[in-house]
Symmetry: C2
Subunit: 217 residues, 2 copies
DNA sequence: AAACTGCCAACTGTCGACAGTTGACACGTT
DNA sequence: AACGTGTCAACTGTCGACAGTTGGCAGTTT
């Protein structure tokens, strides 16, 4: 059934994927500890690969390691969110600038598609799904064509998702976000790097404030 | 002599430090492979902790993992340098902006000290040591008071150091760098975030060009 | 002689077991 | 009753050994 390394992914790699999923979905709730023997048995693997998986997720910021105590799912306060968004702003503003100067027509089509889908969903009474927000930022990132920045944004995004569990999206915020996205696309289409950066900064500032507000009850 | 976890650092943690040193100093040259059993014996530890150390360094970008082949010290070409500096520019420009708005008088004193030491060394006929360049950027980073950005810059800096082995510092470049540093300090002292960002971008652009030139023989 | 095939050593991926540390509970003391 | 102490179970850190895969080499074929 499970030969050591059949063809594609090592046990450690599979464990990384499974654990990441469980942490991001909250199946393993923030603040809880990850028991090595217990999880290893549940995944049907040994402690060795699982340990590697845990360390990997810790390097991504999805787990925090305490010597001789184990790995914990971090639960953040408003202060952490603010600090994290400083990094995200630095990365995504730079990405927005690069996208404005490097985007192709295909990139613009994709960006318009995502924005249009968000609008239609919203007008149909559906809430603006976080999935589409992620898709927009990912598409913009692809247009920037900077693999290292993209990789770092991916890691930060993950951590934001981890903290997003308690976030109740309210309609005003959703509307403002979609407006920001549209404005970003316009700036990128015009090749206006400075404006793209400015709009992105304002957008992320808004999102950050929203998250901090919902974290403070 | 070596109980499992004597008091402070795990064997894996120690191995990380030793290996990082060996990789950054070029003791383990770029392109070479890291043999697990060999290095483990040389460090007097088992393969388990060493594997964790290897994975950790890989997550920092100091090693690249190839399934079933092992870990290699990456040797980069000009294209990689350019891509890496896009990330570094995004991070350090943001840090420069934050430093301009958050710096205290103590930060300014420290920045002036580093610049002064660089100048005096240079005028004494000594080459501008890379150590002082790192110190300057680190001091500026401290003034920005953004731990996440600082951590990411540290990782990128490491990778730059890894590629720096073949870099011959020529006096014109050193002089220009010191001028950039002085100009940065002025902007930070004035609290001029926009100017700090601009100067930092120009500075890193110069350093990047210098590195790419020396990589192309 | 060049290309293909089968074998082999070296190394990574994985596992189970042992040793040391940590936090907690129970007990005794002040 | 509150505090300090000793003991203990649970867990992490570490180790040595086995299984599977990879790349290279020798031998054979065309």
């Amino acid at each position: 059934m499970t030969p050591p390394t059949p063809l594609h992914l090592s046990l450690a790699g599979q464990a990384v994927d499974v654990l990441r999923e469980q942490v991001l979905t909250g199946e393993i709730p923030p603040g809880s500890r990850v028991n090595e023997v217990e999880v290893a048995q549940k995944l049907g693997i040994s402690r060795g690969p699982l340990r590697e998986a845990i360390r990997h997720l810790a390097s991504e910021g999805l787990l925090t390691l305490v010597p001789h105590r184990g790995a914990f799912v971090p639960d953040a306060d408003a202060e952490d969110v603010k600090a994290l968004f400083e990094l995200r702003t630095a990365l995504e503003c730079a990405a927005a600038e690069l996208a404005a100067s490097r985007r192709t027509d295909v990139d613009l089509v994709r960006l318009h598609e995502v924005c249009a889908e968000s609008r239609s969903n919203y007008k149909a009474g559906q809430p603006f799904p976080y999935r589409l927000d992620l898709a927009f930022h990912q598409t913009l990132l692809d247009a920037a064509r900077s693999p290292h920045i993209a990789e770092q944004v991916r890691l930060v995004q993950q951590r934001v998702v981890l903290l997003r569990s308690a976030l109740e999206d309210d309609p005003p915020h959703q509307h403002a976000s979609m407006d920001d996205h549209d404005e970003l696309v316009k700036a990128v289409a015009d090749g206006d790097a400075a404006r793209a950066s400015t709009v992105m900064r304002r957008h992320l500032s808004r999102v950050c404030a929203q998250m901090m507000a919902s974290l403070n009850h």
